[in-house]
């Protein structure tokens, strides 16, 4: 059993975020607005619940037959002329990307959104190896200029105010100081990145879906950045986790209907591009990455987390995420889904995340593939405590609780003291020194305990 002195934990990081209350309110309201747009879009689909259930079942089949599907996908992709690589972990993935670039003597690469490469810290690795990487999704470009991680998987710079973005563009792209007009800033990025697209010989994209039946993969964007990069480059590298497989092309009908309605309330992304064969004279690579996913597949209670299609709906709806910000989760994928994926990768480092939830279940209700997110958060808590990965303070208070609950005298005395304090001196507990109060309101104390009431009334 190890004692954990967590220096980066969700509660501490959230406290920093919460210093600026006006910003917290703004963040909260913006995400709730997106959640509301999701509701409007979803309510227009008469058989939404049937779609969710179907998607969940398709994914269940995928997980139960994944080894065959992966081989079928590999076979078909290779027949299509795509070069397939396998990476056991982040390090191997990054090495493969580097070796492809080196083979072609390429020193600059353009990248569209890929949470997997965030998980693998690819940019840092490539930069350390002398490769210049430019993120082409506007939100990702903004956080890259700010030297930050995305704070949301779909909306990477949702935590940033337009004035801060204007200042970043002023510093890095030479726009006039003080100009924070979204239209103007987007146009600037368009002009700037167009030149990038035209001059990069290698482009890396993520993968939303990989189809076993045909060996093709689908990449969804609103900006068109994945296509601009991939079609103008000589080498296209697509990175995918093993769980991105779906059995047949027709299943895309189900997933593409669910994805953006859940994410932003749009009926579909502007572009849903199906890559099946490299263009003549060009190279297309797929890197299939495990990085802990096969272990999660073996955890019966948590394997459903691999059904995730990365829509971000669980983040937009989460009362804790909305008020603590994505960076508080100190993991590439934040929010409720990130909190059940991260402990699989490093239980000690991410022991705090399953506790960053009220277990209200809203995430589970909006999940388009019906992952039981809040139940998994609850189950992770048991696993983490059993493995001893709890902060010392929480452990000590749990031990006191254990002693109190196992001694009737101590229990009654503690109950009386508690009710007395809450009634006559609430400031004793409702203050910033009480970590419990910091995260929760203290309850109204009852006049007497049930035990006391029973003694009086049983005659």
């Amino acid at each position: 059993m190890s004692e954990i002195q967590n220096t980066t934990n969700h509660a501490d990081l959230a406290e920093v975020f919460n210093n600026d209350e006006a910003r917290v309110d703004w963040h909260d309201e913006t995400l709730w607005w997106i959640r509301s747009k999701r509701d409007v879009a979803v309510n227009k689909i008469s058989n939404w619940e049937v779609l969710r259930e179907t998607a969940s079942q398709i994914k269940h089949n995928v997980l139960s037959n994944l080894s065959s599907y992966l081989q079928q996908f590999e076979n078909n992709a290779m027949t299509n002329g795509i070069i397939v690589h396998w990476a056991a972990d982040a390090k191997e993935h990054n090495q493969i990307v580097l070796s492809i670039l080196k083979k072609h003597s390429i020193g600059q690469m353009v990248k569209s959104k890929s949470m997997l490469t965030e998980e693998c810290h690819l940019n840092d690795f490539l930069e350390a190896n002398g490769i210049d990487v430019i993120d082409s999704d506007l939100g990702e470009r903004i956080v890259q200029l700010a030297k930050e991680m995305p704070s949301h998987i779909v909306l990477p710079c949702i935590h940033k105010k337009k004035e801060e973005i204007g200042e970043l563009f002023h510093q890095h792209l030479g726009t006039p100081a003080g100009n924070a007009d979204p239209q103007f800033l987007t146009e600037t990025a368009r002009q700037h990145l167009r030149d990038t697209f035209l001059t990069r010989r290698a482009a890396l994209t993520g993968v939303n879906f990989a189809i076993a039946e045909t060996g093709e993969f689908v990449v969804c964007t609103n900006e068109g950045n994945a296509d601009m990069g991939a079609h103008l480059a000589d080498v296209h590298i697509a990175s995918m986790g093993i769980e991105k497989i779906i059995p047949e092309r027709k299943h895309l009908g189900v997933f593409l209907r669910l994805l953006t309605r859940s994410a932003t309330g749009q009926p579909i992304t502007t572009y849903s591009s199906h890559f099946k064969r490299p263009n003549k004279g060009k190279e297309m690579h797929i890197i299939i990455v495990d990085n802990g996913r096969s272990i999660q597949l073996g955890r019966e209670d948590f394997r459903n987390s691999l059904k995730c299609i990365r829509c971000g709906a669980c983040m937009n709806t989460c009362p804790v995420y909305r008020r603590s910000g994505g960076h508080s989760y100190h993991s590439a994928i934040s929010g409720p889904i990130g909190s059940i994926l991260a402990p699989n990768l490093d239980m000690e480092k991410y022991a705090d995340l399953p506790f960053a939830s009220t277990l209200c279940g809203s995430c589970t209700n909006v999940c388009p593939v019906k992952i039981d997110i809040h139940q998994q958060l609850y189950k992770w808590r048991q696993v983490i405590v059993k493995n001893g990965y709890v902060p010392a303070a929480k452990k000590a208070s749990m031990q006191i609780m254990d002693w109190t609950l196992s001694s009737p005298t101590a229990y009654h005395t503690a109950g009386k003291a508690g009710r007395f304090v809450l009634k006559y001196a609430p400031f004793m507990v409702s203050n910033k020194l009480n970590p419990w109060y910091k995260h929760r309101d203290m309850p109204e104390p009852p006049k007497e305990s049930f035990g006391e009431w029973y003694k009086k009334n049983r005659k």
Binding site: S67, T214, N225, L232, G253, S272, I295
Partner: protein, 195 residues
């Protein structure tokens, strides 16, 4: 053991018992006025629909609205007198960097979301519908299907090297959720809906 073998064997060991793959064909049951729904969906995402009867009407519309000198490109042979005609995929994609207006033909369109589907043989050069400043797409009214399920039903096992759904102009809302049309792809999308 290679990483491939390692991953596949770990997956095989850890995957649960085989669960049946559900049928999805039952989702093919949507009764809507597809043309009306398509127009409403596309308009809602920032596209515009122009009803036309023939190619002459398209030429008239372009002459009236895009008269200024600009580089226009088409993959539709009927329009080769008003735009550069791209016959095959031999051109270098980089040579399209200054295209202002591209006119292509769709294989099908989807009413529920305003998306059109084009495969490589329709766009000839993969980057064309993305790199052009403005995109125009000819859609035959009879090719509109109600939902994505119908779209994939129609696509079936068609072979292509590349194909894509395009729904409206490129856009982003990454800066404070303010919607801006014209991110990296086309700034506008016009559908010529042919009866």
């Amino acid at each position: 053991m290679t990483s491939r073998e390692k991953i596949l064997s770990a997956v095989k060991t850890n995957q649960p018992d085989l669960a049946t793959l559900p049928d999805v064909d039952f989702l093919l049951q949507e009764e809507v006025d597809v043309a009306e729904k398509f127009i409403a969906s596309l308009t809602a995402i920032g596209g515009q629909v122009i009803a036309v009867e023939n190619h002459a009407a398209i030429k008239a519309f372009i002459a009236e609205n895009y008269a200024q000198p600009s580089r226009k490109i088409t993959t539709v042979s009927e329009l080769e007198d008003i735009a550069e005609y791209v016959e095959d995929n031999s051109a270098n994609p980089h040579s399209l960097e200054n295209v202002d207006y591209a006119i292509i033909e769709a294989d099908l369109a989807v009413a529920e979301n305003g998306a059109i589907w084009v495969s490589e043989d329709k766009i000839r050069i993969r980057v064309l519908p993305f790199i052009t400043q403005h995109l125009a797409v000819i859609v035959s009214q009879k090719d509109i299907v109600p939902t994505m399920h119908y779209a994939y039903n129609k696509i079936g096992s068609t072979d292509y090297g590349f194909a894509t759904f395009i729904a409206g102009p490129s856009k982003t809302a990454d800066i404070e959720q303010s919607l801006v049309l014209g991110a990296h792809g086309s700034r506008s999308m016009t559908i010529f809906l042919m009866s």
